[in-house]
């Protein structure tokens, strides 16, 4: 028989690899980042060591020269996250409703085909799209010019078009996931609701807006909010397609498709401004924590059901 002490401690043995790696790779970097945020750590102090500077970095972000970057980028981060979720969800729902037609015998085949963008690594797809969006030679402008006889669109050079291009690629990459979620949600809607609606004289349109849509929204809302929080930091596409650009006028080389997270990333990777990057991460943390807490409040996700 094993002693009660071993018995009490053994669960932690199972947990230890995860706890050690999370401590080492999530918790400590986070704490060190917080520390860096209150110092002047940068390329200049890398060799000599850094000093405590108090709130100077936060003052710089909110009212110094960095504020000219911070607030516009913050605005775009919110718009980008909202549009990403809304476009992906509407497209996913639209396709799911079409595919869910019981008279469509070959629906499994269509599902398998439409899910393919999900299977392609997003980074490689983003690079491919960069070529396809090329202004003078890319496939997209070629097709548009050939079929619609319009002028070539400066997709990756002009701020608004670059933003549209990034959102299009995000939509292409993301709608299969939302489609899968919505198909699951559609299966969960009780058939009786439609029968009841039919008795009340509802037509196809009413049935969609009064039964399908609200039920699906209820099922998908937690996923949509976490998808919003995810997109808040999801700068992979923009980084690979246009490197966050085209660049804004001004310091810090932040671009029009940069998100707060990618500005912080570039501060570290390109400029070695560990101090400002750390401070930005703290601000970002509070923003995303706020969204996630809101999500848990609204939806009761992660509630233990035992």
């Amino acid at each position: 028989m094993r002693s009660s002490l071993t018995r009490r401690l053994s669960p932690y043995a199972y947990l230890s690899p995860a706890l050690i790696s999370i401590t080492l790779l999530s918790l400590l970097p986070m704490l060190f980042t917080v520390y860096l945020a209150f110092t002047d750590a940068s390329l200049y102090t890398f060799k000599t060591g850094f000093h405590w500077v108090g709130l100077a970095n936060f003052v710089e972000i909110f009212s110094g020269s960095f504020s000219k970057v911070f607030f516009p980028v913050f605005g775009w981060t919110i718009v980008y996250s909202l549009l990403s979720v809304l476009t992906q969800f509407s497209a996913g729902m639209f396709v799911a409703v079409l595919l869910n037609n019981p008279n469509l015998k070959e629906t499994r085949l269509y599902r398998a085909l439409l899910i393919i963008p999900w299977a392609i690594p997003g980074s490689i797809a983003a690079l491919a799209w960069q070529g396809l969006f090329n202004t003078s030679n890319g496939m997209i402008n070629r097709l548009l010019v050939e079929f619609f006889h319009i002028d070539a669109i400066p997709w990756l050079q002009e701020a608004t078009w670059a933003r549209v291009a990034v959102l299009i690629v995000n939509l292409w990459l993301g709608f299969p996931y939302m489609m899968t979620i919505c198909l699951g949600a559609l299966q969960a809607i009780p058939f009786e609701l439609y029968e009841a609606a039919e008795v009340d004289g509802a037509n196809v349109w009413d049935k969609f807006w009064k039964v399908t849509f609200p039920m699906m929204l209820r099922f998908s809302l937690p996923l949509m909010i976490s998808s919003f929080a995810f997109n808040f930091n999801n700068f992979n596409t923009a980084l690979l397609m246009v490197n966050g650009g085209p660049n804004r006028v001004g310091p810090f080389a932040a671009g029009y498709t940069d998100l707060l997270a990618s500005v912080g990333y570039k501060l570290t990777v390109n400029l070695n401004r560990y101090d400002l990057s750390g401070a930005l991460s703290i601000i970002l943390f509070f923003l995303v924590a706020g969204i996630s807490l809101f999500n848990m409040k609204v939806t009761g996700a992660f509630k233990e059901d035992e």
């Binding site: 094993r2 053994s10 669960p11 199972y14 690899p17 995860a18 790696s21 999370i22 999530s26 918790l27 986070m30 060190f32 980042t33 890398f46 396709v95 079409l98 595919l99 869910n100 037609n101 019981p102 008279n103 269509y110 398998a112 085909l113 439409l114 393919i116 963008p117 299977a119 392609i120 690594p121 997003g122 980074s123 490689i124 690079l127 491919a128 070529g131 396809l132 090329n134 030679n137 496939m139 097709l143 050939e146 292409w172 058939f191 196809v204 929080a229 930091n233 992979n236 690979l240 997270a261 912080g264 990333y265 570290t268 990777v269 750390g278 991460s281 970002l284 943390f285 996630s292 233990e304």
Partner: protein
Amino acid sequence: MARRKATGGKLRRFEIIEVWITRLIIWALIVVTFIPILSIVTASLQTGDVFYSGSLLPDPARFTLNNYKLLLTTTKFPIWIRNTVLMGFAVGILQVGITVLSSFAFSRLRFKGRTNGIRALLLLQMMPNYVSIAAIQYVLFKLNMGNLWGLLLVLTGASAYNIWLIKGYMDGLPKELDEAARVDGCTDWQVFYKVILPLARPMLAVMFLMTFVGIFNEYIMSRALLKSPNDMLLAQGLQTFSTQFSVKWGQFAAATVLSCVPLAIIWGFSQKYVESGLTRGAVKG
């Protein structure tokens, strides 16, 4: 729209029209979704100037495998693929191992902090770890680990989300099996090794696969940490092509095809498990 039972008899006229409209819209959507893919596959199989002509359908007269040959012999693509596959296996196996042990503890063992532990871990990892990039790069560069070993270390960090997902799956396995095994004198470890692990195998395979594909996607961390072109993973390596797309578009397309087709096929075969795994883990019921 509703899950009507497919009527045994003939469809009503209205239903026939409805199903054909649906079909046409879906065909159009599939075409739009596949135009980029088709264009890449075509470019990879034709002589260099497809990037310029914008032609979508392959032109048999210009068929060539030259792009593939150049890609495999004159670029670092084979090295990047090797790095990526090795890294994928290493991270995948380590991740699955770390995750499955913790999930078992959270699902089957009693200990202090069980209920709140996983929630705390999920909260902690709400932020992707590249947000701590300042600290990670600072420390790894100080330690002179701006290489594949440093990257392996960073990517191996356990994922609370995966732990939660696998725990959900394990919660769905009948507890009677454990009890029966314990009556036969099995210890915790034997219950884990002989009962739970074999049953969780399909779900673990899905997790391995997702981690593996994730490494093909890895760009953010490697760009921040790796310096030598010989260390690069696939995405970062291919990114170096993009500055000279006009000359290397064909080769880039070939690289995309070579790396994505095997993944898409594996993904296609495992889709059923991915879907059921995601929903079973996420929506307990």
